[in-house]
Amino acid sequence: MKTLKTLLTAVLALTIALLPSCMKYGPSEEEEFNVDPSGDGLFIINEGNYMYGNASLSYYDPATKHVENEVFFRANGFKLGDVAQSMTMADGIGWLVVNNSGVIFGIDPATFKEKRRLTGFTSPRYLHMLSPTKAYVTQIWDPRVFVVNPVTCETTGYVTTDMDYESGSTEMMVAYGKYIITNCWSYQNRILKIDTSTDTVVQSLVVGIQPESMAMDCNGKLWVLTDGGYEDSEYGYEAARLLRIDPDSFRIEQTFYFPDGAVASKLTVNSEGDELYWLDTGVWKMPVDAAHLPVRPFISRDGSLFYGLTVNPVNGEIYVSDAVDFVQSGVVLRYSPDGELIDTFNVGINPGNFCWR
C-alpha cells in the first residue's frame, strides 16, 4: 500500500511541477498602441493556417526598423480569425479581409483598434473602396462581387457575372476611371471590367489559365500574371504568362510566355510604375518596356521560400516574405532598390500580403 501511495504521489507531483501554471485560456488585456502617423508604415497580413484560426497582423516601421506582431489581437483583445487574405487602406481605415472567418474588420491604422465590422460574406478575398459609402468585395467560389456600404455595414447589392458557384471567383481589383478590373483566378481564365456606375460587367477578356495577380504601370497599362494552373488539373495546365493589356480597349497588347515549370505569382510594380516585380522562387524584375522576360532573378536566396512581395511606394525598397515551412513564424526581408539586404524581421505565420499605411 505504501508503494502505491508513493508512486501515485510521485506521478501527481511530477505532473503538477511541470505545469506552466501562469497561463490560462481566458480574457486578454487590450494594449494601447499609437504609431507615429508621419512616415511610412507597413502592415504584414499573416494568413495563418487554414482551419487553425491563427491569422495575425504585424506592423513594421521602416524608419526605426521596429516590428510589432499580433497587433490586432493585442490592441483588441480578440483574434483576427482564420486565413487573413488582404488589407486595403482607404479614408484612414485599414480594411482587413479575413477569408475563412467571413468577416472584414476596419481598423484604425495608428491604434489598430477595430472601428468597423462587415459580415454577411462566405469567403471574402479583397475589398476595394469606391466612395465613403460604397465598396466592392470579391469572394472565392462565388460568381458575384458584393456591393457593400461600409458606413452602415450592409450589403446593398451584387455585381453578377456569368460564372457559377462551384468555380466562380473574383480576386484583386484595379481601378481604371469609372471601371474596376478584377481577375478571376481559381479555375478561371478571364479578367472582367465592371462599370461602377451601373454595377455591371461590361467586358471580359480571356487571358490564360488562372490570372493570379494584376498591376497598373506608369503608362496606364494593365499587367496580368497568369499562373497557368497546375499539372493534371481538370481545368488544364499551361505555362504561366505575363500580359500587357490596354484597359481602355480591353485587348491584349503583348504576351510573354514563361518557360515550362515556372511558378510565377504576386505581380507588383515599383514606386515609379516603370518596373514590374514578381516572385518565381526568387524576386524578378522587368522594365515595362522590356522586349522579353528576364532570364535571371533579380534577388535570389538559396534556402528561402518566398511567399509575399511588395515594393515601398515611396522609395522603391523591396519587401519579400519567407513562409519558412508554413507552420512557423515567417520572416520578411527588406531590400534596397538595388537588391541590397537592409533588414530582416520575424512576423506571423504565412505572411502572404502587405499593405502600406
Binding site: 505532473t15 490560462k24 479555375y187 481564365n189 519558412v324
Partner: protein, 685 residues
C-alpha cells in the same frame, strides 16, 4: 472465483479457456469486487513475451454508454487523444507520433481508413467493445506493420450468461443529448447470440464564453454551431462452440452516423447560412473459425468492410437559396481474409505464422469542378467530379518464434513482410525479451527492438489535386525497455505498475505542405526522434467487506523532436517538439465503492500542444494551453426480484474549465448526463 477473477482471466488467458460462471445477473448489488492474488501475479502467457501492452478493463469500457473509445482512452491511458470538439473527430497517437501511425483492428480486421490512414475513435462506442488493448511501439508488429506509434486492438466477446439476458439503458443529458442502449443475449452450451444497439442524438449546442471574439466590447457567450449528432449502431454476434475446441463466430456491425462539423470559434458566418456535415454508413463483418488442439491452434477469419462517407458543404447565396459548394463522396469496400497458426513445440517453443490479405476498392470524389473542354477556349462547358478510383491489394505476412529457455527468461523474434499494391516493404524484423527478476513482486524486465515501415495512404498517393505517387514509405526504428511489477493479497489489495523507456527514429515522415498553386501536396520531409517514458500503475485496496478503492494512473513524457535538416535558412523548427504532440500527458482514474454505491473520479492532463513547428510561446493567438479535465460519476444499484436497476449521474468537466483541445475549437463546460439501467431477471422462475 467471482467477477474480478473472471475479468482478469478473460484478459490474460486465451479466449476459449474461460471461467464459465460470470453471471449476467447478480443477486448481490455490491460494487465491491473480489481480489484474487493468484490471477494478478500469474505467469504471463508465452505469446506476450516482451510485449508492451495496456489492457482496458471492462470497468473502464462499461463506465458510461455515452462514451466512445476515444473518451475511454483519454482517462485510462497515456496516449494522446486529439479531440476536435464534443462528438467530433477524435484521433489517437502513441509515443509522440501522429494519428496515422496508430494501427487499429476490430475482431482481427484492420479498420484504418485506406484513404486517410487514421481512425476516428469517436465513431466507436465503448459499449460495443468487450476487449481493448493498446500495443505500444514494436509490440504492434504482432498485429500489423505500419504502427510506428502502436496499435489499438479491439474485439467483441461472446456473452457468458446462460439463457436469456437483457440490458436496457436510457441516458438523458445536457445539450439535448439522448442515449439509448439495448442488449439482448441468449446462450446455451453451444450457441451464443448477442444483439446490441446504440442510438445517440445530441443537439450539441453547448454555450461557451468565446474569448476569440468580441461583440460590443465584450466576450460573447457563443453557442457551438453546426455540431448536431445522430449516430446509430447495431452489432449482431452469433457464436457456435462445439465444445471440442472449435468455435465459429459471426460479427456484424452496422453504423449510420450524421454529424455536423462544428464551426471555429473565430467564424463570423451565421449558422443559418451554411450546412457543414458529414455522414457515414459502415458495415463491418467478420466470420471466424477457431480451432484449438493441445499443441497447435488455427484461426481463420474472413471479413468485409464497406464504408460510404459523405461530406457536404452547402451555403446560402445570400437570398435564402442554398448552393452546394462541396460534395465529397467516398466509397470504400474491403475484403479481408486471414489465417493464423500457432504451434507449441517441445522445449518451450512457440511458433506463429500469420497471413492476411486485404483487397481495397476505393472511390473518392471531391467538389465538382468546371473544366474546359475541346476547342472552346473561353467560358466553361462541363462539370466533373474530381477524384480517384483505386484498387489496392495488401498482403501482410508474419512469422514469429518464441522460446522460454528457463522459467524466468522469454525470448522472441519475428519477421514481417508486407505488400502494398505492387510494392513490397523491406523485411521488418523485431526481437523481444522478457526476464523475471524476482518472483516476489513479480518483477519483470522487458525489452524490444524493431524496424517498421508505413506505406503512404491512397490520399497521399492519389488525392486530386496534390497526391504524390512518388512517396516513399515512412521508416521507423524503435527500441524500448521497461520494468513491471505486480503484487496482490487475496481480498486485501492488488498493485501493478510498469515503467517503460522508449526511443524511436522515424525517417521520411510524410507531411502535407502547401504549394503556390493553391493546393497541398505530401512529401517525405521529416526526420523525427521520438523518445520518452511511459508509466502506468493501478490497483485495488479493500478496506473491509463493504469498502473498496480502485486507482489507475498513467503518465507519459514524450519528446518528439524534429531532427531533420532545416528546410529554409530561417527554419527554427529543428530540435523542436512536433506540432500537436503534448510533451506530457497523464490520467488518473479512481473509484470508491461502498456496497451498492460507487463514486468514480476521472482526471486527465495534457501539457501545451504547440501549433507551430518552432514552438513559438511568444504568440498569444497560436497556443493550445495545458488543461486538466475532471469528471465524476455516481452510481447506485438496486436488486429487486424482477430486475436489477442502476442509476448513474455523470458530471463532466466538474470545475467548468474553459479550454481548447485543438486551436479555436470550442469545448463544453460543465455538463450532466443521467442514466437509468434495467436488467430484467428472466431466471426468476
Amino acid at each position: 472465483m467471482k467477477r474480478m477473477a473472471a475479468i482478469i482471466l478473460l484478459l490474460l488467458v486465451p479466449v476459449l479457456v474461460r471461467a464459465q460462471n460470470d453471471d449476467w445477473w447478480n443477486s448481490d448489488p455490491s460494487y465491491v469486487v473480489p481480489i484474487d492474488a493468484a490471477a494478478v501475479t500469474a505467469d504471463r502467457p508465452m505469446r506476450d513475451i516482451g510485449i508492451q501492452e495496456t489492457k482496458l478493463d471492462t470497468i473502464a469500457l462499461r463506465d458510461n454508454i455515452a462514451l466512445s473509445i476515444a473518451d475511454v482512452l483519454t482517462f485510462n491511458s497515456s496516449v494522446f487523444v486529439k479531440q476536435y470538439g464534443r462528438g467530433s473527430l477524435s484521433t489517437i497517437a502513441f509515443r509522440g507520433t501522429s494519428a496515422s501511425h496508430t494501427q487499429v483492428s476490430w475482431n482481427g480486421m484492420k479498420i484504418n481508413s485506406p484513404m486517410l490512414g487514421m481512425t476516428d475513435f469517436s465513431m466507436i462506442p465503448s459499449y460495443f467493445i468487450d476487449d481493448a488493448s493498446l500495443l505500444h511501439g514494436s509490440s504492434s508488429l504482432s498485429m500489423s506493420g505500419g504502427g510506428l506509434g502502436g496499435a489499438v486492438v479491439l474485439a467483441t466477446e461472446p456473452a457468458d450468461y446462460k439463457g436469456l439476458g437483457m440490458q436496457a439503458v436510457q441516458g438523458i443529458g445536457s445539450f439535448g443529448t439522448f442515449d439509448e442502449f439495448l442488449r439482448v443475449t441468449w446462450s446455451n452450451d453451444h450457441w451464443q447470440t448477442s444483439t446490441r444497439a446504440v442510438y445517440t442524438s445530441s443537439r450539441n449546442d453547448f454555450t461557451y464564453r468565446n474569448y476569440n471574439k468580441k461583440v460590443d466590447g465584450q466576450y460573447p457567450i457563443d453557442t457551438n454551431r453546426c455540431g448536431a449528432i445522430k449516430d446509430f449502431h447495431i452489432l449482431q454476434e452469433v457464436y457456435y462452440n462445439t465444445g471440442h475446441g472449435d468455435r465459429f463466430g459471426m460479427n456484424a456491425w452496422y453504423m449510420s452516423s450524421t454529424r455536423g462539423v462544428p464551426m471555429l470559434s473565430v467564424d463570423y458566418r451565421g449558422n443559418q447560412s451554411y450546412i457543414n456535415q458529414q455522414g457515414e454508413n459502415t458495415l463491418r463483418s467478420v466470420l471466424s473459425w477457431d480451432h484449438e488442439r493441445r499443441s497447435w491452434k488455427l484461426h481463420a477469419k474472413a471479413g468485409y468492410n464497406g464504408t460510404r462517407q459523405a461530406y457536404d458543404f452547402i451555403r446560402d447565396k445570400g437570398n435564402g437559396q442554398m448552393v452546394q459548394m462541396v460534395e465529397s463522396r467516398s466509397r470504400i469496400n474491403t475484403i479481408y481474409g486471414q489465417t493464423e497458426a500457432e504451434f507449441f513445440l517441445p522445449g518451450n517453443w512457440m511458433l506463429t505464422a500469420q497471413l492476411a490479405a486485404y483487397q481495397h476498392f476505393v472511390q473518392s470524389t471531391d467538389r465538382n469542378a468546371t473544366v474546359r473542354t475541346g476547342a472552346v477556349i473561353d467560358g466553361n462547358t462541363k462539370k466533373v467530379a474530381i477524384g480517384y478510383d483505386q484498387a489496392r491489394f495488401e498482403v501482410l505476412s508474419y512469422v514469429s518464434a518464441k522460446w522460454q529457455p528457463g522459467p524466468r527468461l522469454g525470448l522472441s523474434a519475428s519477421l514481417r513482410e508486407e505488400l502494398y499494391g505492387y510494392s513490397f516493404t523491406p523485411l521488418i524484423p523485431a526481437v523481444y525479451a522478457d526476464y523475471l527478476l524476482s518472483r516476489k513482486g513479480n518483477v519483470r524486465l522487458k525489452a524490444s527492438a524493431s524496424r517498421n515501415f508505413r506505406f503512404p495512404t491512397l490520399n497521399d498517393l492519389y488525392f486530386m489535386p496534390g497526391g504524390n505517387p512518388d512517396l516513399k514509405p515512412e521508416k521507423g526504428l524503435s527500441y524500448d525497455a521497461g520494468v513491471s511489477f505486480a503484487t496482490a493479497k487475496t481480498d486485501s489489495y492488488s498493485l501493478e505498475g510498469e515503467v517503460t523507456w522508449f526511443d524511436s527514429f522515424i525517417d521520411d515522415w510524410i507531411v502535407w505542405i502547401p504549394t503556390f498553386k493553391g493546393y497541398w501536396t505530401p512529401r517525405n520531409v521529416k526526420q523525427v526522434h521520438a523518445y520518452g517514458i511511459e508509466t502506468k500503475a493501478g490497483g485495488f485496496y479493500q478496506f473491509n467487506k463493504d469498502w473498496q478503492l480502485h486507482l489507475n494512473g498513467s503518465f507519459s513524457w514524450t519528446p518528439s523532436i524534429n531532427n531533420g535538416d532545416p528546410t529554409d535558412w530561417a527554419d527554427e523548427a529543428i530540435g523542436k517538439q512536433l506540432v500537436y504532440v503534448p510533451l506530457l500527458s497523464s490520467s488518473v482514474n479512481g473509484s470508491l465503492a461502498f456496497r451498492s454505491w460507487k463514486l468514480t473520479y476521472k482526471w486527465c492532463y495534457y501539457s501545451e500542444r504547440f501549433t507551430t513547428s518552432d514552438n513559438d510561446i511568444k504568440s498569444k493567438i497560436g497556443r493550445v494551453l495545458p488543461y486538466f479535465m475532471n469528471d465524476i460519476v455516481l452510481e447506485k444499484r438496486f436488486v429487486t426480484a424482477p430486475a436489477e436497476i442502476s442509476l448513474k449521474l455523470a458530471v463532466n468537466n466538474i470545475f467548468n474549465e474553459e479550454y481548447e483541445s485543438v486551436l479555436n475549437r470550442p469545448m463544453p463546460g460543465r455538463n450532466f448526463e443521467f442514466f437509468l439501467e434495467l436488467r430484467p431477471n428472466f431466471r426468476r422462475k
